[in-house]
C-alpha cells in the first residue's frame, strides 16, 4: 500500500542523511522524497512516499520519531490529503503526433514550456496518479527525458503538522 509520511525536522547539517540512512538501514524503500525549509528557517519539512503495510509503517514512524532532530511525524495517508509534484518531460513531437501531444497536454492542464521543431518540453503539476495517467497517453518511444520532483503533501481541512 502506498503511504505518504510528512516529517518536520531541525534544519541542521546531517539531519537529512540520518533520515535517508535510516531507510537504508532498516530496509525500507523510499519511492519519492522532497525536502525544503518551512516558514521557520530552523525547520525543514520532508514528504516521503513509500510502500508498506501497517506494521512496517508503524515501525518507520517510530524510528523517525526516535531521531534526535525529528520533531513531528505524520502519516498523511491516514486521512484526506493533497499532494503535488512537478514533472518535466521532453518528448519527440513531429508530424501527426505533434498536435496529439499538445492536445494531451491541454487535457491534463499542463504547459509546454520549451519548443523545438522536433520536440516539446512539457511541465505538469499534480499527483503521482496524474503523472502516470499522462505518461500513458504518450507513445513510449517518443519520451526522451523525464524529471519528476518528489511529492509534497499536506493534510486537508484544519489538521496541521506544526510544532
Amino acid at each position: 500500500m502506498r503511504r505518504m509520511i510528512a516529517v518536520l525536522l531541525e534544519n541542521e547539517a546531517g539531519a537529512l542523511s540520518r533520515i535517508v540512512g535510516l531507510f537504508a538501514q532498516r530496509n525500507y524503500n523510499i519511492e519519492t522524497l522532497s525536502v525544503a525549509p518551512t516558514e521557520d528557517v530552523n525547520l525543514s519539512r520532508l514528504t516521503i512516499t513509500l510502500r508498506g503495510d501497517d506494521a512496517k509503517l508503524e515501525q518507520i514512524i517510530k524510528h523517525l520519531n526516535r531521531l534526535i532532530e525529528v520533531l513531528k511525524v505524520a502519516d498523511l495517508t491516514d486521512g484526506e490529503h493533497v499532494e503535488r509534484g512537478i514533472m518535466l518531460i521532453k518528448v519527440r513531437a513531429e508530424g501527426a503526433s505533434r498536435a496529439e501531444v499538445k492536445r494531451s497536454v491541454e487535457i491534463f492542464k499542463g504547459r509546454i514550456i520549451d519548443v523545438t521543431p522536433r520536440m516539446y518540453t512539457i511541465e505538469l503539476v499534480g499527483s503521482a496518479d496524474k503523472f502516470s495517467a499522462f505518461m500513458a497517453t504518450l507513445e513510449k518511444r517518443s519520451i526522451v527525458e523525464v524529471v519528476r520532483s518528489g511529492l509534497a503533501g499536506i493534510s486537508r481541512g484544519e489538521k496541521a503538522l506544526i510544532v
Binding site: A13, Q25, A55, E58, K62, R66
Partner: protein
C-alpha cells in the same frame, strides 16, 4: 553548511541553554577549544578518558596534559578504548568517554561503538578531525566519522564553531544517558581546538532539545491494563532484560516478583537484575536458555516483558512464539515494541517509573477485595521441568573423574572461588554461554558482556574498564583463546596502569561456537574454525607482558588453581589462567532452528 547557518545554529544552541548563575557569568574565563573540551568534561563529572593520541587530536591531548582532574588511560588499540569505556559504563551506570584521533583512530572505534549501541550503553566518543578547511579533500587521516558511525550512534555532532564545544558536550552526555542510552559522537576538527584562539567559557547547567523528550512515565491506562492482566493470569512469567539493569529497576522487579510469587527469567543482558540464587529464578531464556525458562515461556498465558526486546536469540520462530500468551511489553524505546512480537499491552516508559506504579497498583488491588493469585499448579509444572532437565541435572558435571575438564566445571569452580561476588566480563562464544548459564549473578551490573553485537575481543578491555572503576573488587574475564587473541595487546595497558584483572581462558583450541554449529549443521566440516597447531602459549604470553600465567590440564587441579588465582599473593596481579577444556563439549540446551521456544536439543545424543 554556510557560515550563516553555522551562526544560526550557534545562536539557537545558546537559546536552548540555561546558563550558569549570572554572577559567575560576569567574569567568564577565556579558554581555547581544547581547554574548553577538557573543562566541560570535568564539569560533566568525567573521571577517565580512554583513548589513543594522533595528529588531529594533539591540541586536545595537550589540553589533557595541562590539567590534573581527569585521568587518561592509554590503550594499545582504539577498539579497546571503546570496550574499556563500555565496561566502565556497564559496571557503574555512568557514561564511558573515549578520545581518539581521525582516520584509522576513528575507524578502529567502530566495533566498540556498535557494541555499545546494540546494548544501549551510554558512551561519548570524542574524535579528532582534519581542520574544517580540509574536510572533503581526502586529507591525510581523513574519514567522515559522522557518516561512518551514523547507523551505530544515538546521535552525533560535527563541531563547526569552537564556541559550540561546551554546549555540544552537554548535549552529548544528555542524549547518551537519557531515554534509551547509547553512544554519541563528537567529531572535532583540529582548528576548533587551536590553543591560540580563546573563547568565553561557560558550562550550561542543562540543555533542552525540543525534538527530544526522553522521560516517559508510561500511559496510565496501559499500566492499569497490564496490572489487570497480571492479576488475572494463571500462568504468568516475568521476562526481564538489559533495560532493567540499565534502568536501575532491579529492586522494583524483585519487589513485584516477590509480592506475587512470579517466575522470572532473564535475557543474556538482564542477568543479575533478579537474583540467580532465588528459587523464583528460572535462569536465562532463549537459544541457550534453560529448559525450564523456555518451557515456561512457551506454556505461559502472560509474558510480562520488562526492558527486553524479543531478540531473535530469544524468540526462535516468531510465528510459534508463546502461542497461548498475551504480551505486556514495557520499554523506553517505542521502536522495540511490536517490532518482533505484537504487544497486547504496550507501555513506553522508563522501567523504574513504570514498575513502581505497577507495584503500587498491585499493592492497592491486593489490599482491596482481591486475593493473592495462587500459582500453585503453575509452579508445580515449572518445578517438574526444572527437576527433569534443569542445568543442575547434568550428572557429568559432578563426576570428578572425567579425563577432560568440562568448561562448565570451570565456571562452577570460579563461582565457588569468588562466592558469586565477582564482576565477570566475557567475550563471545561457548565460554560466554557457559558463564551466563553457570555463574549465578545475584546483583545487576556484575555481568559484563556483549549481547547484541556479539563482539569477540570485548572481554579483556571491558574487564579493564570495570577494574578502573572498582579497583578493590574482583574482576574476572572469562574468555576463549579465540576471543582473547583479538585484543590481547591490552595486557600491556594492564601493566601500565596496574589493572589486576583475572583472565580465565576456556581453551578448547578452536572457535568453539562456530565448530559446534559446524558439528550440528554442516556435517562436522570444521571450515576455518581450528588452529590447534599454531596457538601461542598463554602462560608465556602473560609472562612476556609482565603478568602471571597459570595452566590447568586436569580436573583434579582445577579448584586449587582457582583458589590460587584469587589468593592474597595475586591480589594485585593480572593472572591468566589457561584451562585446557574438552574441545568436544557443546553448549546445551540449544534451540532448534525454526521451532518454538519449547523445541530444544538438550544433549549431544539428540539429533535435530
Amino acid at each position: 553548511m554556510s557560515k550563516d547557518s553555522a551562526e544560526l545554529m550557534a545562536q539557537k544552541a545558546n537559546q536552548e541553554v540555561q546558563n550558569e548563575s549570572p554572577v559567575k557569568a560576569l567574569v567568564p574565563e577565556r579558554l581555547s577549544g581544547g581547554d574548553m573540551l577538557l573543562r566541560a568534561l570535568d564539569d560533566e563529572g568525567v573521571e577517565f578518558l580512554f583513548g589513543y593520541p594522533g595528529g588531529q587530536a594533539l591540541h586536545i591531548y595537550d589540553a589533557i596534559f595541562r590539567q590534573q582532574r581527569i585521568e587518561h588511560i592509554l590503550v594499545r588499540h582504539e577498539q579497546a578504548a571503546t570496550h574499556m569505556a563500555d565496561g566502565y559504563a556497564r559496571a557503574t551506570g555512568r557514561t564511558g568517554v573515549v578520545i581518539v584521533t581521525s582516520g584509522p583512530g576513528v575507524t578502529n572505534t567502530i566495533t566498540g561503538i556498535a557494541t555499545a549501541y546494540m546494548d544501549s550503553i551510554p558512551m561519548v566518543i570524542i574524535s579528532g578531525q582534519v581542520p574544517n578547511n580540509q574536510i572533503g579533500t581526502d586529507a591525510f587521516q581523513e574519514t567522515d566519522m559522522v557518516g561512518v558511525s551514523r547507523p551505530i550512534v544515538k546521535h552525533s555532532f560535527l563541531i563547526k564553531s569552537a564556541a559550540e564545544i561546551p554546549v555540544a558536550v552537554k548535549k552529548a552526555f544528555y542524549i547518551a544517558t537519557t531515554g534509551r542510552p547509547g553512544p554519541v559522537v563528537i567529531d572535532i576538527p583540529k582548528d576548533m581546538t587551536d590553543p591560540n584562539i580563546l573563547f568565553d567559557y561557560a558550562y550550561p547547567k542543562s540543555v533542552k532539545l525540543r525534538a527530544y523528550n526522553p522521560s516517559l512515565k508510561g500511559h496510565p491506562r496501559q499500566i492499569k491494563k497490564a496490572v489487570e492482566l497480571l492479576l488475572q493470569s494463571k500462568r504468568p512469567v516475568l521476562y526481564a532484560g538489559g533495560g532493567v539493569v540499565q534502568g536501575n529497576a532491579s529492586d522494583l522487579l524483585i519487589q513485584l516478583a516477590k509480592r506475587l510469587n512470579l517466575p522470572v527469567t532473564n535475557t543474556l543482558m538482564g542477568l543479575g537484575s533478579f537474583p540467580a540464587t532465588d528459587q523464583q529464578f528460572l535462569g536465562m531464556l532463549g537459544m541457550h536458555g534453560t529448559y525450564e525458562a523456555n518451557m515456561t515461556m512457551h506454556h505461559c498465558d502472560l509474558v510480562f516483558a520488562v526492558g527486553a526486546r524479543f531478540d531473535d536469540r530469544v524468540t526462535n520462530a516468531v510465528d510459534k512464539f508463546c502461542p497461548d500468551a498475551q504480551i505486556v511489553h514495557i520499554d523506553i524505546d517505542p521502536t522495540s515494541i511490536s517490532k518482533i512480537i505484537r504487544a497486547d499491552v504496550p507501555i513506553v516508559g522508563l522501567v523504574d517509573i513504570v514498575l513502581k506504579s505497577i507495584v503500587q497498583q498491585v499493592e492497592k488491588a491486593l489490599s482491596g477485595a482481591l486475593e493473592l493469585p495462587d500459582y500453585k499448579e503453575w509452579w508445580a509444572q515449572i518445578n517438574s521441568w526444572r527437576n527433569a532437565h534443569g542445568l543442575d541435572t547434568d550428572a557429568r558435571l559432578a563426576n570428578l573423574k572425567n579425563p577432560k575438564i568440562l568448561p562448565q566445571q570451570v565456571i562452577l569452580s570460579l563461582y565457588r572461588a569468588t562466592q558469586g561476588k565477582a564482576f565477570v566480563s566475557s567475550d563471545v562464544g561457548q565460554h560466554q554461554m557457559f558463564a551466563a548459564q553457570y555463574y549465578k549473578f545475584d546483583e545487576p551490573r556484575k555481568w559484563i558482556n556483549s549481547g547484541g553485537l556479539g563482539t569477540m575481543g570485548f572481554g579483556l578491555p571491558a574487564a579493564m574498564g570495570v577494574k578502573i572503576a572498582f579497583p578493590n573488587e574482583t574482576v574476572v574475564c572469562v574468555t576463549g583463546e579465540g576471543s582473547f587473541m583479538m585484543n590481547m595487546q591490552e595486557l600491556s595497558t594492564c601493566m601500565q596502569y596496574g589493572l589486576a584483572v583475572k583472565v580465565i581462558c576456556l581453551n578448547n583450541q578452536a572457535l568453539g561456537m562456530v565448530k559446534q554449529w559446524q558439528d550440528m549443521q554442516y556435517g562436522g566440516r570444521h571450515s576455518a574454525s581450528t588452529y590447534a597447531d599454531s596457538l601461542p602459549d598463554l602462560v608465556k604470553v602473560a609472562e612476556t607482558f609482565g603478568h602471571v600465567g597459570m595452566r590447568v590440564e586436569a580436573l583434579a587441579e582445577l579448584d586449587a588453581a582457582m583458589d590460587e588465582l584469587f589468593s592474597e599473593k595475586n591480589v594485585n596481579k593480572l593472572v591468566i589462567l589457561d584451562v585446557k577444556v574438552d574441545p568436544e563439549e557443546h553448549v546445551y540446551p540449544m534451540a532448534i532452528k525454526g521451532g518454538s521456544m519449547q523445541d530444544m536439543i538438550l544433549t549431544r545424543g539428540e539429533s535435530i
